[in-house]
C-alpha cells in the first residue's frame, strides 16, 4: 500500500514519540512575524535557552505595518515598539529578517513562496493560522500559537498529533470569472467550518492539476477556515517550474536532484485516505459570503438563506448572522450595497489576483462614495505589478494603491472599517468585527468580484464585466 504526502513528510520529520503520546516533529522552516513572536522570544530569554537552528527561521513584518505612511517611527507607539522588538530579537538570535525597507518584505505567506523558502516535502510552522497556505507546494504547514513558536525557536520541533487525510477532488474546468477563491468557498460551504477538524485536506483532481501555484496558494490558504489545520497539493511540474531560479531555491547544479526528490514526495496512486469528496468545477460560480463565518456563502446568482430554509439546529446561527449583517433573509445577494472594497491579503494579494482585478477596473471608475484600496501582498508583488502598469490602471479607476501588508484583512494597522460599513473583501474571514470596526460587515469574494463591486457600488456578477 502506498503512502500519502502527509505520511511521508510526517515520518521523515518524526524525532520520537513523546511520553505524552504525541510525536515530536522537526520543523524544516519556521516563519516569524511581529505579532505572535515577542512573548515567545521573551520566554526563551527568561529560561536561558538558545535558538539552535537560527537559519531555519525567517522573519518579516506584515500584520501591523501601515500601508500609507511607512516612515519610522510609526505614529502608533505600540506598533513601533512591536517592530523594534522583532528587530532586536532577530539581531540577538541571528535570525534573518526581511523587514521594512527591504525589497523582500511582505505578508509572511506571500514572501515564503516567492523567495523560494517554501519547498515540497518540508514541514513548516508559523504563528499564524494561514500557514496552511504553504501546503500549495506539497509542504506540511501548521499554524501555531505563541507557546509553540517558543517551542520551535528553542528546539526546532513541535509536539503534534497526526491528522487524518481527506482527499478533495475538483474535476473539470472552471468557467471564466470563477477562481480558486470560489472553489475553496464552495468546499467550505459543503464541508462546513468545522468539517475539517482533525484532518489535513489533500486537494487534487483535474481542475487543481491545472491551477497555477498562485491559485493553489489561495486554495490551501483557506483550509483553516474549513477547520483543517493543514491543506496541500501534491508537487508536480508546475511546482518545480515555479521554484526554479528563486532566491532560496536550490542552486542550478543541485536543482535537478532537488526536483526529483520533491516529486517523490507526492502521494502514491494507491495511497489510503480517510475519506474522499468530489466537486464538479463547472458547477462552481462566483461566491459571496452573506454571514459571519466563511461557510455562510452563496453563489452570486443565489439568494441569501432565510432561517426557515435551514434545519432546526442551524436556525439560530442563521438568524444571528442575518441580524448582524442587516439582511432580512431571502433577498438576492446581488445588489447588496457596499461602502469599502479591499483587494489584498495572504489569500488574494498576489500578482495574478491584481491582474484579474485590474481587468475589471481598466477603463471603469470606482462608484461614488466607495472607498477602494489595493494592497499588494509583498514588495515583490508591488514592483511586478508596477512594471506592468497595474498601479496606473487602479489609480485611474479611483482605487488607492498602497504599500504591502496584511492591512484590512484584520485591521491591526490604521486600515479599518468604520461603523457598520459593508466591505467587499478578497480576504479570508468575515467574522464579526474582523475588519476593525466592532459592527463592520464583510462580504468575502474573489479579487475580480471585489473590483466589480467597487465599480458598481454593489455586489454584481463579475462575469458580466469580463470580456
Amino acid at each position: 500500500m502506498g503512502e500519502t504526502l502527509f505520511q511521508k513528510t510526517w515520518d521523515l520529520h518524526a524525532v520520537r514519540r513523546l511520553p505524552t503520546g504525541q510525536t515530536q516533529l522537526f520543523v524544516g522552516l519556521h516563519l516569524v512575524h511581529e505579532v505572535t513572536s515577542p512573548q515567545a522570544f521573551e520566554m526563551i530569554r527568561r529560561r536561558g535557552w538558545t535558538v539552535p537552528f537560527p537559519s531555519r527561521t525567517v522573519a518579516t513584518v506584515d500584520h501591523i505595518v501601515p500601508t500609507r505612511d511607512v516612515a519610522r517611527p510609526f505614529r502608533d507607539p505600540q506598533a513601533e515598539e512591536m517592530l523594534t522588538e522583532l528587530e532586536k530579537n532577530c539581531r540577538a538570535f541571528g535570525i534573518p529578517l526581511h523587514g521594512l525597507g527591504s525589497d523582500r518584505q511582505g505578508i509572511v505567506h506571500v514572501i515564503g513562496p516567492e523567495l523560494g523558502l517554501t519547498q515540497p516535502g518540508m514541514t513548516i510552522a508559523c504563528g499564524d493560522s494561514h500557514t496552511s497556505t504553504h501546503g500549495a507546494f506539497g509542504a506540511l504547514a501548521f499554524g501555531v500559537g505563541t507557546s509553540q513558536v517558543r517551542d520551535v525557536l528553542a528546539s526546532q520541533c513541535l509536539a503534534l498529533d497526526p491528522l487524518k487525510v481527506r482527499r478533495i477532488d475538483v474535476e473539470g474546468t472552471l468557467s471564466p470569472g470563477v477562481y480558486a477563491k470560489d472553489v475553496i468557498l464552495a468546499i467550505i460551504r459543503r464541508l462546513g467550518v468545522k468539517g475539517g477538524v482533525g484532518y489535513a485536506y489533500e486537494y487534487g483532481g483535474s481542475a487543481v492539476d491545472r491551477m497555477t501555484m498562485e491559485e493553489r496558494l489561495t486554495l490551501c490558504n483557506m483550509s483553516i477556515e474549513g477547520g483543517a489545520r493543514a491543506g496541500y497539493v501534491n508537487p508536480d511540474a508546475t511546482t518545480v517550474e515555479y521554484l526554479r531560479g528563486r532566491l532560496y531555491a536550490p542552486r542550478p547544479e543541485l536543482f535537478a536532484r532537488a526536483a526529483s526528490w520533491w516529486l517523490s514526495r507526492a502521494s502514491d496512486p494507491d495511497a489510503p485516505y480517510h475519506d474522499r469528496v468530489r466537486f464538479e468545477a463547472a458547477k462552481i460560480e462566483p461566491a459571496v459570503t452573506w454571514g459571519i463565518n466563511p461557510g455562510q456563502v452563496v453563489g452570486v446568482t443565489e439568494r441569501i438563506p432565510k432561517p426557515s430554509d435551514v434545519s432546526d439546529n442551524a436556525r439560530e446561527a442563521v438568524s444571528e448572522a442575518l441580524a448582524y449583517m442587516g439582511f432580512g433573509g431571502g433577498e438576492p445577494i446581488r445588489g447588496t450595497r457596499i461602502d469599502v472594497a479591499f483587494i489584498g491579503s495572504c489569500t488574494n494579494g498576489r500578482l495574478s489576483d491584481l491582474r484579474e482585478a485590474s481587468r475589471v477596473a481598466k477603463g471603469r471608475r470606482v462608484a461614488p462614495g466607495v472607498k477602494a484600496l489595493v494592497v499588494p501582498g509583498s514588495q515583490a508583488v508591488r514592483a511586478a505589478a508596477e512594471r506592468e502598469g497595474l498601479d496606473v490602471v487602479f489609480r485611474e479607476a479611483g482605487f488607492e494603491w498602497r504599500e504591502p501588508g496584511c492591512s484590512m484583512c484584520l485591521a491591526m494597522n490604521p486600515d479599518r472599517l468604520e461603523g457598520q460599513q459593508v466591505c467587499a473583501s478578497s480576504s479570508n474571514r468575515n467574522f464579526k468585527g474582523r475588519q476593525g470596526s466592532p459592527t463592520g460587515r464583510t462580504l468575502l469574494m474573489s479579487p475580480a468580484m471585489v473590483a466589480a463591486a467597487a465599480v458598481a457600488g454593489e455586489v454584481v456578477d463579475v462575469r458580466t464585466m469580463l470580456r
Binding site: L12, V15, R16, L18, P19, T20, G21, Q22, F26, G28, V35, T36, P38, Q39, E42, R47, W49, P52, R56, H63, A79, E81, M82, G121, M122, S129, V144, G145, T146, S147, Q148, D151, A154, S155, Q156, C157, D161, V193, K194, V197, G198, I224, G227, R229, P250, L254, R257, A258, N293, E316, L410, A411, M412, R429, F431, K432, G433, R434, P438, T439
Partner: protein, 200 residues
C-alpha cells in the same frame, strides 16, 4: 518548571453559541502589544459592548458569574485565528478550564500549552450544565482530569480529553519545551538526514 494539573473546581460561566472565533474572544487591536499582560479585561470586549447597546447583559459582565473558574461553551469554540492571545485572555480573566461541545485544534493546543484544559462533553450534558448554572450560578463544578469526569449539582458527567493532553496535564509536561529538548541529539539526527538541509 511546571506542575501537574489534576482538578479544576469552582463556579462556571455559560457562554452560548457555536463557532465562537478568536477574533471575538480578543479583537485584533488588543494584539498590538509585546506582552500578554492586561488581556483578561478585554476578553469579548466587542461582544460585550454590542450586548450593552442592545440593553442586555453579556455573561462576561453578569455579576452572577464573576469569579467563575470554568467556562461552558458549545461547539467549535476558538475557531479562526491562531492567536494564543485568546486562551491567554480567558486564562488571565481567571478561567482554569473550558468545557464545551468541541474546540478548534489550534485553540485546543494553545490552551494545553498554557495549562488550561479544554474538555469535551456531549451536547446534552453541556446544555444541562448551562441550564443548571444559569438557574443557580453559585453551583460549584469540578473538572477531574484523572477520572475524566465533570461533577456538578450532585451529578457526574463523563468528559473526554485526548490521552496525550490528559497525560501532559497529569505529569506536568504541558509546558512542552523542556520535553522537546530532552534528547536533542535525536533532533540533530533528523536534521542531518533531511535532503533539503544537505544539498539533496
Amino acid at each position: 518548571m511546571t506542575t501537574a494539573i489534576t482538578r479544576i473546581e469552582g463556579t462556571a460561566l455559560p457562554l452560548r453559541g457555536d463557532d465562537v472565533d478568536t477574533d471575538r474572544i480578543i479583537p485584533a487591536r488588543f494584539l498590538v502589544s509585546v506582552t500578554f499582560e492586561g488581556l483578561g479585561e478585554h476578553a469579548f470586549e466587542d461582544d460585550r459592548k454590542a450586548a450593552r447597546d442592545r440593553g442586555v447583559s453579556h455573561p462576561f459582565d453578569d455579576p452572577r458569574f464573576s469569579g467563575a473558574r470554568i467556562l461552558l461553551v458549545n461547539r467549535n469554540f476558538g475557531c479562526g485565528s491562531s492567536r494564543e492571545h485568546a486562551p491567554q485572555a480567558l486564562w488571565r480573566r481567571g478561567f482554569g478550564a473550558i468545557a464545551g461541545g468541541s474546540f478548534s485544534e489550534i485553540f485546543f493546543g494553545n490552551s494545553v500549552a498554557i495549562g488550561m484544559p479544554c474538555v469535551t462533553l456531549s451536547g446534552e450534558a453541556i446544555a444541562e450544565l448551562m441550564d443548571l448554572v444559569s438557574n443557580a450560578p453559585s453551583t460549584r463544578l469540578t473538572v477531574d482530569i484523572p477520572s475524566r469526569t465533570m461533577a456538578a449539582g450532585g451529578k457526574t458527567f463523563p468528559l473526554s480529553l485526548p490521552e496525550n493532553a490528559r497525560e501532559a496535564f497529569l505529569t506536568g509536561r504541558w509546558d512542552g519545551t523542556s520535553m522537546l529538548l530532552e534528547r536533542f541529539e535525536e533532533v540533530e539526527a533528523v536534521a542531518s538526514r533531511l535532503p533539503y538541509l544537505r544539498d539533496f
